[in-house]
Symmetry: C2
Subunit: 561 residues, 2 copies
C-alpha cells in the first residue's frame, strides 16, 4: 500500500493511501458497516464522501458462512465499491470473551473475502485492565499478528493488494503500548491500529487517550499510517488528528441514533434536548426537531444516523481545512472549550508548564514510563513558515511550535551593544517598519549602542533586526492581561538574552508591570526609565553619548542570527 504525506501541521498530516479500490485521502473517518443489518446503504455512505468503510469479518463469517462469503467477496456482500477494512472480531473478544474461531482461520478468511485492509484477531486490552492481564493480551496479540502476516506473505502478500494492519494494544500501560508498537513495526506491518479508545472516551479520560496515541506515534516511523479504533466523535477528532491519527472508525453514528442521540460539534445531545438543530445538513435543513421526534422509529433512527455521519464528516473536513491553513493549533485550542475535561487534557498536553493540571485531582497514568514528548512531535511536523498569521491568545500559546522556534532563535541572539531598550510590540509588523520604532530610534541619539527590542508576553523578546522572522512578522496577539508567572518561556528567553549579552543598561517603561516582573531578575543591569532617558537624549541634540560604560561589559563576538 502506498501512503503519501502531502501537508503537515502539528503531528497531523493530510495524506493519500492508494488501495485496490481507489485512493483514500486521510485523515479519514471510516464508518462501520454491519455486514447483515446495515440500515443506511453503504452506497449512500459512499455518496456522502466516505471512501473507506470497515466491517466485521467475524459477523460476516457467522452470517454468510465461509464458503459463500469467500465466493462473493466482501465488496459484493456489503455492496460497496470503495476501500474496505475488516475487523476480525477482536472487539467481540472484549465484549463476549471468546469467538469460536482460531486466529489463523480468521486470517485465511479475511484474505479469502478480498478485503483491502485486514486486521488480525487481536485481544483488546480496553481501559482499566491490570498490568499482568494487559501484558498477556499484548503478547497474544503480537503472536497472532506475526502468524497472520507470515501466512499472508506465504499466500502472495503485498502482491494481492491487501494491507495487513498491526493492532497495538496496551491501554493506559504506556510501556506496553510502546513495546507493542515497536514489535509490530519490526514485523513489517505497513499500517498500525491503536486499540480500544472507546473506554477512555466514555470515562472522559482524554488526557490518557492522548498520551496513549502519542506513545504509539513516537515509536513508529513517520511514513506508516495509524488507525485509531472506535474513535469517531466530533469532540475528539481534531485532537486525535493533531496527534497523528490518520484514520479512525466507529459505529457511533448508528448506535447513538438508536438511542436518539444527536451528535454536535460540542458533544452529544438527546433529540429531546434539541430545540434548534445546530446543523445545516440535509436532514437538519429538511426537518424541524419536532418532525423528527414524531417520525416512526426506524425512519427517525436513520435520519439521526445520517445527520451523525454529516456531523463527523464536517469535523474531519474542518480539521483538514485547519491543517491546510496552518491553524490546527488554534482550532484544537478553540475546540477544547467544548468540555472542561477536554480542555484540561489539551491544556496539559499543549501547554504543559504554564497551566499543568491542578495537583489535587490530576489523574495519573498507570505506568511509570515517561510521558511522550508531544510538544517535540508537534515541532517536528509544523512548517517553519506559514501563509497565515498565527493567532496568539494567552500563556497557553507559548509552546506552540512556531512560537517555541522563535524563542530558540532569540536565545542564541548575540549583540555587542551595551544598552537594551524594550518596548511593547507595535501593531505594525515587522516592528522595524512601525512608527513607534522609527520615532524611538530618531529620538534616542545614542542608537549606535542601543539594542532595540519589542516584546510580546507569548512570543518573548523580539530584537528589532529579526522582527521580520515568522511569526514575529505575522501574528495577531490579543491585547489582554497575561499572568507573567505563567510565562515560563518568556522567563527562559529573558534569562538567556541577558545572560548571553553584556548589557549594562535596560531601558523600559517603568509603568509596565509585565516587564517589571522580569526586570527584578536582573542584578547587574542598570534599569532606566525609557521615557526619561530618551527625552534626555533628545534634549542633548547632537551631543555624544554620555553613558558610563562599566568595565564589566563582556565584549562578545557579534553573532547575529
Amino acid at each position: 500500500m502506498r501512503f503519501e504525506i502531502q501537508k503537515t501541521d502539528l503531528a497531523a498530516r493530510i495524506g493519500r493511501m492508494q488501495t485496490g479500490h481507489g485512493t483514500v485521502e486521510t485523515p479519514a473517518y471510516v464508518p462501520v458497516i454491519h455486514p447483515a443489518k446495515q440500515t443506511i446503504p453503504a452506497s449512500r455512505i459512499k455518496e456522502m464522501g466516505f471512501d473507506i468503510v470497515i466491517t466485521n469479518a467475524y459477523i460476516t463469517r457467522n452470517t454468510y458462512g465461509h464458503d459463500e462469503a469467500v465466493r462473493r467477496g466482501i465488496h459484493d456482500i456489503i455492496k460497496y465499491d470503495g476501500a474496505i477494512m475488516t475487523d476480525s472480531g477482536g472487539y467481540q473478544v472484549l465484549e463476549y470473551g471468546k469467538v469460536g474461531v482460531t486466529p489463523p482461520e480468521m486470517a485465511e478468511f479475511e484474505r479469502g473475502i478480498r478485503t483491502d485492509f485486514a486486521i488480525p484477531l487481536d485481544k483488546p486490552t480496553g481501559f482499566g485492565m491490570g498490568r499482568d492481564a494487559a501484558e498477556s493480551y499484548v503478547r497474544d496479540t503480537l503472536r497472532v499478528s506475526r502468524e497472520a502476516l507470515r501466512a499472508a506473505e506465504g499466500a502472495g502478500g503485498g502482491d494481492s493488494g491487501q494491507t495487513w494492519i498491526g493492532p497495538i494494544q496496551g491501554g493506559e500501560h504506556r510501556d506496553l503500548v510502546a513495546r507493542s508498537t515497536k514489535s509490530l513495526v519490526r514485523m513489517g506491518f505497513e499500517m498500525l491500529a491503536l486499540g480500544s479508545p472507546v473506554e477512555f472516551m466514555e470515562s472522559y479520560e482524554y488526557r490518557l487517550l492522548a498520551e496513549m496515541i502519542a506513545t504509539a506515534k513516537s515509536n513508529m516511523p513517520h511514513g506508516i499510517p495509524l488507525h485509531l479504533f472506535g474513535a469517531g466523535h466530533p469532540l475528539t477528532i481534531p485532537l486525535a488528528v493533531a496527534l497523528g491519527c490518520d484514520t479512525f472508525d466507529s459505529a457511533s453514528y448508528i448506535l447513538y441514533a438508536k438511542h436518539g442521540r444527536y451528535m454536535t460539534e460540542d458533544g452529544t445531545r438527546t433529540l429531546d434536548e434539541i430545540e434548534y438543530f445546530p446543523c445545516c445538513c440535509a436532514v437538519c435543513s429538511r426537518y424541524e426537531p419536532d418532525e423528527l421526534r414524531l417520525m416512526p422509529q426506524e425512519q427517525r433512527v436513520n435520519n439521526i444516523a445520517v445527520h451523525n455521519l454529516y456531523a463527523i464528516k464536517l469535523e474531519v473536513d474542518r480539521t483538514k481545512q485547519a491543517i491546510t491553513e496552518g491553524r490546527l493549533w488554534e482550532y484544537v485550542m478553540k475546540k477544547s472549550r467544548a468540555h472542561p475535561r477536554l480542555y484540561e487534557a489539551v491544556t496539559h498536553l499543549m501547554a504543559p508548564s504554564s497551566s499543568s493540571l491542578s495537583s489535587a485531582s490530576a489523574p495519573s497514568s498507570a505506568t511509570s514510563a515517561p510521558p511522550p514528548d508531544i510538544i517535540g512531535m508537534f515541532r517536528a511536523g509544523t512548517p517553519q513558515y506559514k501563509q497565515k498569521a498565527a493567532f496568539l491568545y494567552g500563556a497557553e500559546d507559548q509552546h506552540r511550535p512556531e512560537v517555541a522556534a522563535y524563542h530558540d532563535i532569540v536565545r542564541k541572539f548575540r549583540t555587542r551593544k551595551s544598552i537594551v531598550a524594550i518596548t511593547p510590540e507595535s501593531h505594525t509588523k515587522p516592528g522595524y517598519m512601525s512608527r513607534e520604532y522609527r520615532e524611538l530610534y530618531k529620538r534616542s541619539r545614542e542608537s549606535d549602542d542601543v539594542q532595540f527590542c519589542q516584546y510580546s508576553p507569548i512570543l518573548g523578546i523580539i530584537p528589532i533586526e529579526i522582527s521580520d522572522v515568522y511569526p514575529a512578522a505575522h501574528h495577531e496577539q490579543a491585547r489582554v492581561r497575561v499572568d507573567p508567572a505563567a510565562c515560563t518561556e518568556f522567563a527562559k528567553t529573558w534569562d538567556a538574552f541577558f545572560g548571553n549579552n553584556g548589557f549594562a543598561e535596560v531601558w523600559y517603561d517603568k509603568g509596565d508591570a509585565f516587564l517589571g516582573h522580569f526586570a527584578k531578575r536582573l542584578k547587574d543591569v542598570k534599569k532606566r526609565s525609557l521615557k526619561r532617558t530618551v527625552a534626555a537624549a533628545a534634549r542633548r541634540t547632537g551631543a555624544a553619548p554620555q553613558y558610563n560604560r562599566p568595565s564589566k561589559i563582556k565584549k562578545k563576538e557579534k553573532e547575529r542570527l
Copy 2:
C-alpha cells in the same frame, strides 16, 4: 406589534414578534433583498427558514416610482409573503450624502407600500465621526423619527399593523447613544434599531461595538425588541445576541459572494483559500471547492451566497440552542477564540477585572460616559437555576452570572463555629454527598465546632451546608492551574467570609499553593495543617475538643442562607 419573550440567558432572549405577515421568532437574521436586482429569489430565502427580510424603500421608490410601488405593495414587488422591514435610505445618506427625498415623503411612501416594519429616514453616524457632527446627526434623526411616528399615528398608526422602528444613532459616542435611545422610547416607538455597526466591525472594534449595544440596551425597556443594522456575520452573531439584539440585517451574504468570499464560523475566507468546505450545507455537500471555482461567475456567486445564508442561519440556530440549554456564556467564550480581537473584546466585557486589556494598546471610547454595566445586564437575564451543569474553565468564568450569584450567597454566610476546614471540591456533587467529606467529617472528632467548606478557584468557598445550591451542586470545573492573582472574586469572598465569621483557626492542606496565596491575608486566624490536625483528632478517639477558644471570637447570630 406584540413581542413575547420566552426564554432568556445572559441578556439574550428567544422571543416572538407577531406581524401582519406571520410570526417571527427572534433572535432572527433579516436578509437584505434588493428590490430590483435580487438574484436569489426571496421565496427561496423564505424556504430556507428566514421569516423576515429587509429591503430598501428608497431604491424601491426610485426603481418603480411612487404610484406603481404603492399600488402593488412591497410584498408583491419583492415576491415575499413573510414579514418585511423597509430601510428608508439612511445608509445611502452615509454613502452618498443626500437622497433627494424628504423624510415626510419617505414616511408616507413606507406606509403606502404596506411594509410591516418601517424605518424613518435617519442619518447614520457610522464610526469615527467627530462629536459635534454626530450630535447634529442624532438631533436630525430624532426630529425625523418624531415626525414619522406622528404622521403614522395620524394615518391610522397601530391599527394598520405597521410597526415603526426608532433608529438609534451616536456611534462610539456613548452619551449620544444613550440620549438617542431614551428619546425614542419616550416618543413611543415599539421597536428600536441601532445604527451603523458595519464600520466598527470592519475596524475589528468589537469592544466598542459591544459597548454601544449595551449602552442602548441599558436605556430601553426589556420588552422592546432591538434591531442591529448591518451586522450579520457568524463571527459576531453570538456576542450581539448575548448583549440583547433581537434582529439584525445584512447584505453581506451576497456582497461577500460577489468577491468570492465564503463565510465560516471563524471568519471569512476567499474561495481560493478553501481546500475542504468546513460546512455541510446544500451547496457544500453537493460541490467540491474546485467545482465551485470553475463555475460561471453568476452561478458561483449565487452558490456562495446561498452557502453564506446557511452559515448565518446555522450560527443563529446554534446561538438559540445555546440559549435553550443555558450555555450561552460557554458558547460566546468558545466562539471568542475565533479571532484575537474578538477574544480581547469578550475578555474585557465578560471578565473585566481578571483579564482587562493590557494598558499598552487598549482602545478607548470616545466619550467619558461611564461604560455600561454589562455584567449587571447579564445577571438580570440569567435564570438562577439551570438544567445543565455550568462548565467552568478558568478565571474568565468568575463573573458569569450563576457564579457571581453564588459568591453573593457565600458573602452573607454566617456561622458560630470557630474552626473552618477548607478542602478542594470533590468530584461528587453536592460536596456533602462525597466520600472525601464523609471521611473528613468522621475523622475530625471536633466536628461540632468545625465549619466544613470545599472550594473551587472560580466558584469560591463552598460551605458544605450549601453545596447543593446551583451551580455548586451542578458544575464541571476543568482541573487546571488557575492564577490566584486573577481570582479577584475568590479574594472578595474570602475576605467577606473570614470578616463575617469569627474563625479562630483555619485548617487546610499546607501544600495547596492556591489556598496558601489567600491564607496570607489572614492575620488573626491560626493556620493549621488539615492533615495533621485531623490525624491528631482521630487519635484522641472520643476525647473532647481541646482547642483554646480565643475570647475574641465574635458570637454572631447564626444566619444560614
